[in-house]
Subunit: 337 residues, 3 copies
């Protein structure tokens, strides 16, 4: 059960081109490609004829031709050609999905197309603002997407999972939780912590202050606004501001597509700094993935094993409840309609 | 659910020797070997003692000795020896299956042995007629056998799947369907099509006429009689006659053994031509297998996803109905008996 | 369903150190490590916080710290520290399992801790008696543990499975079965058999007498006391005495941990002889594993396929009945309590 009436990241914009790209999203096969004018298209990745995946076919003009018997579908999903017939059969079509291309991502709406409002796409503008620079990747994770949401909303793990990369013990951080009908926000403020290795490599001294603001938007988006300031006797003090964009799209109940972009408002033209963030963030997130996949396997051994929550889990628990409530409302509305 | 009272190909004749060969057929483990006089034998590949697969054992004389504790079974499946005992236990046996060796194949009857009539073996005589030459292989396919049956009964796919090998667009072909209690036949006639790459390599000019006659015999046999004639101003015109034998035996509901033989009535003594057909047909059928396995995976994602049929599917649909009807009759008869 | 109120081998003693070792036992994730004083500890390998496997964490003093958020558990399973909190939540804990370290093995009690009596650990004293020498290994087997129990209780397989290594045909052996509330014992006596290859390599002549005494202790222990005596005209006759310790611990219903130790009371200081037994026994037991895994797969194809028992199966059948009866009693008692 996934929330359907919301925007998910289907792909990084650069992944989608004229060659069809097949991807499993929320358990459904989807194929992505671009029209001649560059507009992205998402169709059901399953020919309505013999259920061959359409991504094995070819884009012809603005349409997608199945690689098995040549059935051809327009960008709206309607079958427009069947080889050997004057007209395609009435009603032959595959599903088409509303898309928005924004902030270097292609966003997909897997629910009721009538509700697909582009204004609801999360604000990830630092990803295409010239005042900012970005490093990014898509990583496959063999774990349920909510495990990743929890991971990003409880950054106390950083001092354990990432102690060699981006982390240091900030378990004394002050936490402030806010939440509303469509968001959960946690502010995590630490004074005088050991500077994370990551910042040390950028010239920081041994102690720092750090503020992290995590904002969760259902179903799978979390931005993290991180400011780290060196504790030093005098100015100038090292300071680093990162705005980390995370978008997790369920692939199945047990696997996810993890899209992340680390954006920064300094050294925006320095490719060495971009490469530094690309390398270090990849290393750190691979550390998370190792934990998350082990956690998923452990949960599958006994899905009913009890768990304990502590105050540090408040944001994650609130996010899970919010998603559950939204799914419930969506289901109730679907039944009512 | 498979049709049981019919002949399936268990193996190419050359695969079966004195060393036991284990093979899963219709979900059942079967072991094949030859007696001292060369007659092939098929037994249940599961010792009745501790359920070890018998194909790990040894053929001793005409009998098969389990490699675990030495239980030995005659060619009729009866246990004839248990080490350490004077006599084998009464009633100890494994199932034995009727076999026929014909046309370079070993045929197996997985249903009621009393109904196993050798006269019902399909006529694949071009495979051992000295006027013909053959190239052949067995290929494992991770797809339900009926997907392969449909594939072979709708050759409109050739212009898409095989456009670099044996195919050219013949979507304008004229189709003629015949069917009866035990067969489905489709004749596919094309005038003035682009000559397939395969025939170009044999010296044909750019345009050809082609007739393909596909005959389906339940549950998994399809012969394809293909005549391609070069369109040329004057004689002699290139002409190629191929009789393609296909036999698909279910391994499980999701996987199949695909046996094919490409027979020809020309250049029968030329090993280069045999090698040409071996190589080109293997390449082409690997193209089919890639599609079929992708199709199987896509179907498994949502087995209830609807499909659309078009006139080109008539033969495949008729074949599926024929198989379903035969299985239904077989089940009804089993209940009645 | 496994018998729980009994000792299983969790690990060879040498496998357990200060670094946590994760292992699946009876379908449950268990983590093993040693305290500072060397005492082994076994805890549930699943943090009660977010269900990360604890074996990915670190041993800190005598406690185990989760590698995800740093929850720390004492050797009794109680959570003693949560980073960022003054006190751990009341009742937060993971399961801890009674252990005994004895005879170079770490023994675990997966049932009711109150019943965990160290006196019930099987006597494997030859494994740490200075008058004996040992070769040993742990082997993973993709088969139910009872298939391995049966294998070891019916050594008539030796002449078939191991005919190139440790076996020769002794199907004429005299068998004597004893059994009681907590054991099954089979004595297998052979006169004038072909000397096994294994003994030939140690200088034996072509014919020998052999006695093997197999003692099964539920749920997964079998010792085999093997005496082989060369048949020779005059003294000195070659004689070899081996006490083979086997302990099979279920990993899942379909896989097992096979611990074996081959102990001997001769050439105890000769590393070449130890290496000989290490190599030859490994080879032979890999032959068993190949059969057992094939058997497991064959059983899974049709778990209800009938089997036949013969007199040689009496010990295995009795052992299966004993285990079934003990599980039944354990279940009845659990319901009653």
């Amino acid at each position: 059960m996934f929330l359907r009436n919301c925007w998910y990241v289907a792909a990084e914009a650069r992944e989608v081109g004229r060659a069809p790209l097949g991807r499993l999203l929320l358990g459904e096969p989807v194929v992505l490609y671009r029209r001649q004018d560059g507009t992205p298209v998402a169709l059901e990745d399953r020919c309505c004829h013999r259920r061959a995946p359409l991504h094995r076919g070819e884009v012809v003009g603005d349409a997608l031709q199945c690689g098995y018997h040549g059935f051809t579908f327009g960008a709206d999903g309607a079958c427009i050609k069947v080889p050997g017939q004057a007209h395609p059969p009435r009603g032959a079509r595959v599903r088409s999905y509303p898309l928005v291309e924004r902030h270097r991502y292609v966003w997909i709406w897997m629910g009721d197309p009538a509700r697909a409002d582009p204004a609801l796409v999360p604000d990830f503008h630092t990803n295409d603002d010239p005042a900012w620079a970005a490093a990014s990747a898509r990583m496959p994770v063999k774990a349920n997407y909510l495990l990743l949401v929890e991971n990003l909303l409880d950054l106390s793990h950083v001092g354990f999972v990432h102690k060699g990369t981006i982390g240091s013990d900030d378990s004394g951080a002050e936490l402030e939780l806010e939440h509303g009908r469509g968001f959960v926000r946690l502010t995590r403020s630490s004074q005088d912590i050991e500077t994370p290795p990551h910042n040390r490599k950028q010239g920081f001294g041994p102690r720092s202050d750090q503020t992290k603001i995590m904002t969760f938007l259902p179903a799978g988006h979390i931005t993290i606004d991180i400011t780290t300031t060196e504790r030093a006797a005098a100015e100038p003090r090292h300071r680093m501001h990162i705005f980390l964009i995370n978008s997790i799209t369920p692939e199945t109940e047990r696997s996810s597509h993890y899209f992340w972009t680390s954006t920064r408002d300094f050294a925006v033209d320095d490719p060495n700094v971009t490469e530094f963030f690309q390398r270090e963030t990849t290393r750190a997130f691979n550390e998370d993935i190792a934990v998350l996949e082990a956690q998923q396997s452990c949960i599958e051994l006994d899905p009913a094993a009890p768990t304990v929550n502590v105050p540090g889990d408040a944001a994650g628990v609130t996010a899970r409840r919010l998603v559950a409530r939204l799914i419930e409302a969506e289901t109730a509305r679907a039944v009512a309609e």
